[in-house]
Amino acid sequence: MADRARFVTSQRGGRTGRTLPLRRAWHRWQCWRLRVHLVDCAEGELAGRLRLRVERHLALCPECDRSAADLRAVAALLRGVRAPALTEAEAVRQRQEVMRAVRAMERVPGRTANCARRAFGWAPAVAAAAAAVWLATRVPQQRAPAQPGDGQAMGEVAAAVVGEGAEVARASRPLAAVEVPVAELAWWEPELELEPIEPSADEVPVEEMAGWIAGDTA
C-alpha cells in the first residue's frame, strides 16, 4: 500500500521525484515486450493500434527511442557494405568445380536412400502378412470340431510368431480360419506324442456297458 501511495505520488510529480521499483519494473517489462515490435517499427512494417502503442512508448522511453534509431542507422550502414564482387574467372572456376562434383555423383538427385526407403518401405509389412497367410493355409483341410476358444488361442500364437503380419491376418479373417485340429497340435509341440493305451483287465467292454444301459431302461 505504501508502495502504491509512493507510486501515485511519483506519478503526480510528488516531492520525492524518484522512480520507484514498481514503476521501473513495469517500464522495463514494457521495453522487453516491445523490443520485437521495435524491429518492425524501424523497418516501417508496423501499422494500426500496435504502431500507436509503440510510438507512445518511444515518446516516453528515450532508451527504446535510441534503440529504434540505432536499428535504422546500423541497418542502413550495413546494407551499404558490399561484399567484394566475384570475379568472372573465379565464378567460372567455381561453377566448373560444382558441376564436376555433381557429375561425379552419377545419379539423379533426390533418388537417394530415403527415396528407396519410401519406395520399398511397404516390403516388411507385406512379408509379415505373407508369413501370416502361409501359417494360416498350412493347416490341413480335415479339422476336428472347433472348441470354443481354440481359434482365439491359435490367433494369439500366430500373433506372437509373426507379430504385425499375424495381426493383419487376424483382423482380416474370421477367427475360425486359424483354428487347428487337436491332432495337429503335435506340430506346434513336437514333444507331445500320443501313445496308444493298452486295454487293462479291469476295463469293461463297451458291449457289456450297452447291456447295462439296456437293462436299466428295461
Binding site: D40, A83, P84, G110
Partner: protein, 190 residues
C-alpha cells in the same frame, strides 16, 4: 553453352521450377543454370557469414553440391533462393567448425608471414573488412539472422522457417545483433 548464357544473365527471368524438373529428370547439365543464377548471392552471404576468406569458396561449393543432392526434397513452399540460403547456413557452420578444429595447431607450425599483424590500427582498415570482422564476432544465430535479413533481404517469416525458430525469436536475435554492432561502432568512435 550459349543457351545457358542467354537465359541466365542476371535479371533475366528463369522458370526455376522447369529447370529443377529437368535436372530431376536427369539433365544434370541444367543444374549449371541454377548455379549461375544464385552464385553471387550465395558468395555474398558466405562472405559475410565466414570470417575466413579461404573458406568462402568451399562453403559455396558445398552448398551447391548439397542442394543438388537434396533437390528432390525441394517442395517449392519457399523460394528456391531461400531454400538454398538455408543450406548455405548449415554448410557455413560446418565449414566454420572444421576451421576451428584445423586451427588448433601450435604456433610453431604456423609460418611467420601468415600471422595477423597488430601494426595496422583498426581505424585504418578497410570498412567492409571491419564490418565483416564485427559480424563474425556475433553469436552464430544472431549473425545468421542479421545476414539473412540485411544482405539476403529475406523477410523474418522466411528466416524463421529456414532457421527452425519462431518469427519473434528471429526478430529478437536481429535486435540484439544490431545492438551489439551499435555498441562496437560507438566504442570505435570514442
Amino acid at each position: 553453352m550459349p543457351r545457358i548464357a542467354a537465359v541466365t544473365a542476371e535479371g533475366t527471368p528463369v522458370d526455376e521450377a522447369a529447370v529443377i524438373a529437368r535436372v530431376l529428370a536427369g539433365q544434370v547439365d541444367d543444374f549449371e543454370i541454377l548455379v549461375r543464377r544464385h552464385q553471387a548471392a550465395l558468395y555474398g552471404f558466405a562472405w559475410r557469414q565466414l570470417a575466413d576468406e579461404d573458406r568462402v569458396a568451399e562453403a559455396v561449393q558445398r552448398t551447391f553440391v548439397q542442394a543438388y543432392r537434396s533437390l528432390g526434397k525441394f517442395d517449392g513452399r519457399a523460394a528456391f533462393r531461400t531454400w538454398l540460403l538455408g543450406i548455405a547456413v548449415r554448410e557455413c557452420r560446418a565449414v566454420e567448425r572444421r576451421a576451428r578444429r584445423d586451427a588448433a595447431v601450435s604456433l610453431e607450425q604456423v609460418p611467420e608471414g601468415s600471422l595477423p599483424s597488430d601494426s595496422v590500427p583498426l581505424e585504418r582498415q578497410v570498412e567492409p573488412a571491419l564490418v565483416r570482422k564485427w559480424i563474425a564476432r556475433l553469436p552464430s544465430r544472431q549473425r545468421t539472422v542479421l545476414n539473412l535479413r540485411l544482405f539476403a533481404g529475406l523477410p523474418f517469416r522466411e528466416i524463421a522457417a529456414a532457421q527452425g525458430i519462431s518469427e519473434n525469436a528471429a526478430k529478437v536475435n536481429y535486435f540484439y545483433a544490431v545492438k551489439k554492432l551499435r555498441q562496437w561502432l560507438t566504442e570505435r568512435g570514442s
